[in-house]
Symmetry: C2
Subunit: 270 residues, 2 copies
């Protein structure tokens, strides 16, 4: 593998995944990953542009930012690209009225959206809300539509909490896709539209941007397909087998965000 | 389409699906489909061989047969091919100890099976048992195995109850397959091994047998791939679009089991 200097040359902007990179979720909200609070602060003090790019869909952006600030991070809602606001834009643009299969923590993001007489289903990481009853209701709504539309906020396979690996929205989206014989539209990583909108908000071109995440497919593969570079951290949902993934190879693997920031401050050219 | 006489020539044995063909499930057990009680009786009085071939995995065979007898049907456990007993054979043959993600009604089928220190997961139609907690537990068991083995009792997309269409085990199997990056082994329709064992118990060759079911893929497509003929009834989970399925065309579509039996008694050659 080329030296870090070569791999990081010309990077001017950084997209940071949140869960598994900044903190691990769990009881009481979660805990920061060692060194990440300081790493974010150092990155923001450098000349590099920084934006947060998350598939978080259990909480609203406001709740997520409040949680992160409680954990010691400094950031505001305006610095976060998240799937729920992007989904609301898409719903409005296409006149869609969703049945919401989502976590209660996310409902505030959809307060402005008409949910009467639904003509689509929006699915997000509902966690305990993925009861058989709730899944079946969403399934029945889809089966009653002439052209079923399923919008999935991300398609993550799983994420890590203190209690262990947890099934993410992608698994439940697959269940509905199979039952209905349809394919969901993904809003969130690894959708290229989502990365492009984050890049636009970051204000640099793809070739000048690097994504740092713990998901080899959703973060690393998705960013690379958009022309960005991408590092995988060995925190969060990282598993050693990720480094031999059959389809995706990161531009580098680092112990954690702190090491990624060390390397960026040393080798990138702000 | 050829005349019925041609399509049914040489049929000597009949495999009957149960749910959606004999009865529709629902509150209080379910209700027989009009004409089916008499149709089964007429078929059994004819010279044709008859066997029941179900993917039922909410109840044990004993409970299923007891329910059907209460609804007016005459049959015994020995006439029913069902996935749970087939799965038990497979578990024993391979020294597998399952974590069971199944309905409480099915547990008696697994009483002889060692479930300590699990090295595989068996998933069946757990209905309300498909809570997030139960799904996540099965997911975690799989992710802790070096070579995860997932055995799925059928892979049905949905079935019909009085309250409407209900998600079947196949949807939840897809969720675990996606989350773990694995492919399940299916025990039940449309697995060729399962149809072959039903045929052997029926005692006729594939080209002399016909399957009657409400599932265009699981019943009709599965049986045809084994060299059998297959009719789809317009009861149970049947939907008009099934008659224009992109991959599967039944050897005939009938209003219900009663019509299928009328045609068989008229045209088959016992």
């Amino acid at each position: 593998m080329a030296a870090w200097r070569e791999r990081l040359a010309g990077v001017r902007g950084v997209l940071l995944d949140i869960s598994g990179v900044l903190y691990d979720g769990g009881e009481g909200g979660g805990t920061p990953i060692a060194g990440s609070v300081e790493a974010v602060a150092r990155l923001k003090r450098s000349g590099l542009k920084v934006r947060f790019c998350t598939n978080e869909s259990q909480k609203s952006r406001r709740e997520l930012v409040q949680l992160l600030c409680r954990l010691g991070f400094h950031l505001s809602e305006g610095e976060v690209t998240a799937p729920a606001p992007a989904a609301c834009q898409l719903l409005r643009a296409r006149g869609l009225r969703p049945h919401l299969l989502i976590h209660d923590g996310l409902r505030s993001e959809f307060h402005q959206v008409d949910t009467s007489n639904p003509n689509c289903v929006v699915i997000a990481d509902a966690a305990d809300g993925f009861s058989f009853q709730n899944m079946n209701k969403a399934f029945q709504v889809l089966m009653e539509l002439e052209t079923p539309v399923l919008i999935s906020l991300g398609k993550g396979r799983y994420y890590k909490e203190a209690a262990g690996l947890m099934l993410d929205v992608g698994a439940y989206t697959k269940a509905l896709e199979y039952a209905c014989g349809i394919e969901a539209e993904v809003v969130g990583k690894p959708s290229p539209e989502f990365f492009k909108s984050a890049l636009q908000e970051l204000g640099v071109d793809a070739h000048q941007a690097i994504m740092i995440g713990d998901d080899i497919v959703g973060d690393v593969g998705g960013a690379q397909r958009c022309g960005m570079r991408a590092l995988q951290v060995r925190t969060g949902k990282f598993r050693p087998s990720d480094e031999h993934h059959p389809e995706v190879q990161a531009d580098g693997y680092v112990a954690n965000l702190a090491e990624a920031v060390d390397l960026l401050l040393q080798h990138a050219e702000p």
